[in-house]
């Protein structure tokens, strides 16, 4: 009898280490975040029940409206980054991957080469571009023979962030696309050649549908990654000029850990922002799946 029980416990033994971490760092925080969002809490003093006030503040129902204005401005900045940078980080890697898949002699070398910036940490990349984009001594202005204030004026600050993020991130999706394109059955490509399809037609009719799952996967991961953008804005432009590049992640971070330790408000912000992010991701997934089925 005892032996029988032990055997039944084996699967749970395999599962339990993972489940412990999943519950402690995956499930408990969700509940905790909701609880904290209903309180006023600076972490040092005891929690104070605050009802819906944190949310009311965010939606401008109470207070001077400054909290609400700053928060929604930051959310809009994040949305701008998502809407501009996600398509860039899909289209450029896709074109590059098509090129690399075609240039067979240097294919695996190129995969490694273009992946190189992605292995660098965001802070290293920011230090590098902070120098290259310097108004007076940066090489970019040097080559242009101009003094463009790349990091201190709009819209240049956003252009710099977009350009640097693309330079940094192009390799991540590229490498997945090359792997997917190389896996496209050769018979399909040969058949389309016999039918007289040109390179462009072949790309849209054969290649794109064949790598559909990889495309959907990368669009979702890239969207989520863009929503979480923080390092670029914090290190390269420090949220400036005039909070013009301050993102949602940055305002949540500052609210919770930037001196005032307003945990309650920061948790409410995280929940609202998380809900927006989730809605956006699900909507874009739905649209893609529908388009893919057509």
């Amino acid at each position: 009898m005892k032996r029988f029980n032990l055997k039944k416990a084996v699967p749970y033994l395999f599962l339990s280490p993972y489940m412990v971490f999943f519950i402690v760092f995956g499930m408990v925080p969700l509940v905790l975040c909701i609880v904290i969002s209903f309180t006023k809490w600076d972490y040092a003093s005891p929690m104070e029940w605050y009802g819906l006030n944190n949310f009311k503040l965010l939606f401008g129902a109470i207070g001077s409206g400054k909290v609400s204005k700053d928060f929604w401005q930051a959310v809009l900045h994040t949305l701008l980054f998502v809407v501009v940078e996600t398509p860039i980080l899909i289209i450029i890697p896709l074109l590059l991957a098509t090129l690399i898949a075609r240039c067979k002699a240097v294919r695996s070398f190129s995969m490694g080469f273009f992946y190189f910036p992605t292995i660098l940490s965001i802070t290293t990349v920011c230090i590098l571009w902070n120098f290259l984009l310097d108004t007076n001594s940066g090489i970019i202005n040097h080559l242009l023979g101009d003094t463009v204030p790349w990091l201190t004026q709009m819209p240049y600050a956003w252009m710099s962030i977009f350009f640097m993020s693309t330079w940094w991130g192009v390799g991540g999706n590229m490498i997945l696309y090359v792997a997917a394109i190389v896996n496209v059955p050769q018979e399909l490509i040969e058949a389309s050649k016999i039918d007289g399809a040109g390179a462009f037609k072949r790309f849209f009719i054969i290649i794109l549908p064949s790598i559909k799952t990889t495309l959907i996967y990368t669009i979702i991961t890239t969207t989520i990654g863009s929503f979480n953008m923080l390092g670029q804005a914090q290190v390269l432009t420090a949220g400036g000029p005039n909070n013009g590049t301050r993102t949602a992640m940055m305002i949540i971070y500052d609210t919770a850990f930037g001196g005032s330790n307003n945990f309650g408000r920061a948790c409410a912000m995280a929940l609202v922002f998380g809900a927006i992010m989730l809605a956006f991701t699900i909507a874009s997934y739905r649209i893609q799946v529908r388009n893919a089925e057509d």
């Binding site: 395999f14 904290i36 802070t123 799952t213 949602a248």
Partner: protein, 298 residues
């Protein structure tokens, strides 16, 4: 296939190539290789410029007639940074490495055990548990940051390297990847081992894990990179400069060398070198692994 370079001249190879391809094909190929080369320059030039700057004197960096190669090569930028106790680059590097390696080892072990249970063992609630865990992927990470800080602090782990290891171990992504892979391994392997008297732990460790090595390598690289590049979490759970990781520590680095670009670039180069070496040596496995996991996803 090996090319027999010694016996065939370039000329004869060119003639063979010329015979097998149309003129249009060759012109298009040249144009495409050229385009690829230009793209490569966009990636390469900024990096080369940074490396060269790190060997220049500060006055040469700011010179209006600045050249790519230093007129006078100096090592002072590197010496200065390595001697500065406020930017302990090697301590940061060591921390990053320790944390990333611990992360990889523990996550691979825990995730593969869970994936083994989810894919090859039968027990009550298997599917329900798996899909509950999978649905956690929908919860945006930003929601977890503040509560996780509270949990880590209550566990007394602030400034401890495990603060940067433990939360990641609850991630479902790697479990999912491994489960998909393990599902494709024929069950006859386990059954014959079971007949030979092997228990589940032996089957897991001696049969399944060795078969999963390609996908484990891929997962190891992704986990390593994720840990190495994590920026915000290490900033939150460390107070002292000594316990920071390279990515988090460097965030304040450029501030302490404002407009001293030679030194900033030396710091950037030092921070990039270790991971670059890891990447160069692991590249072959990495690309192989990506192709495999691309197959799993696709």
């Amino acid at each position: 296939m090996k090319f027999d370079v010694s016996k065939r001249s370039l000329k004869s190879r060119w003639l063979e190539y010329r015979n097998n391809h149309s003129a249009k094909h060759i012109i298009v190929s040249v144009a495409l290789y050229l385009a690829l080369f230009l793209c490569a320059m966009v990636i390469l030039l900024p990096s080369v410029w940074a490396v060269m700057t790190s060997f220049k004197e500060e006055t040469a960096v700011l010179d209006a007639n600045v050249t790519l190669f230093p007129k006078k090569w100096i090592l002072d930028n590197y010496k200065d940074i390595l001697a500065n106790h406020n930017v302990p680059i090697f301590t940061w590097f060591w921390n990053s490495l320790k944390i990333a390696v611990t992360n990889v080892v523990l996550y691979l072990l825990i995730a593969s055990m869970a994936a083994y249970a989810f894919s090859r063992l039968k027990f009550k609630g298997r599917e329900v548990l798996f899909w509950i865990a999978m649905s956690s992927m929908m919860i945006p990470g930003v929601i977890n940051i503040i509560p996780n800080y509270v949990i880590i602090d209550k566990l007394g782990l602030v400034d401890n390297m495990f603060a940067m290891v433990l939360p990641g171990l609850g991630g479902i992504g790697g479990v999912f990847l491994l489960r998909q892979f393990m599902k494709n391994i024929p069950t006859s392997y386990d059954e014959s081992a079971r007949i030979d008297g092997a228990n589940e732990f032996q089957i897991y460790f001696k049969i399944i894990v060795p078969l999963c090595i390609p996908v484990l390598v891929t997962l190891a690289i992704f986990t390593f990179q994720g840990s190495w590049n994590d920026y915000v979490w290490p900033l939150i759970v460390t107070n002292s400069a000594q316990s920071r990781t390279l990515t988090a520590g460097l965030a304040t680095f450029s501030g302490s060398y404002a407009h001293q670009y030679g030194k900033q670039m030396a710091g950037a180069v030092l921070s990039a070198l270790p991971i670059l070496l890891v990447f160069i040596f692991g590249q072959k496995y990495f690309i192989k692994g990506i192709s495999i996991s691309g197959g799993v996803k696709g």
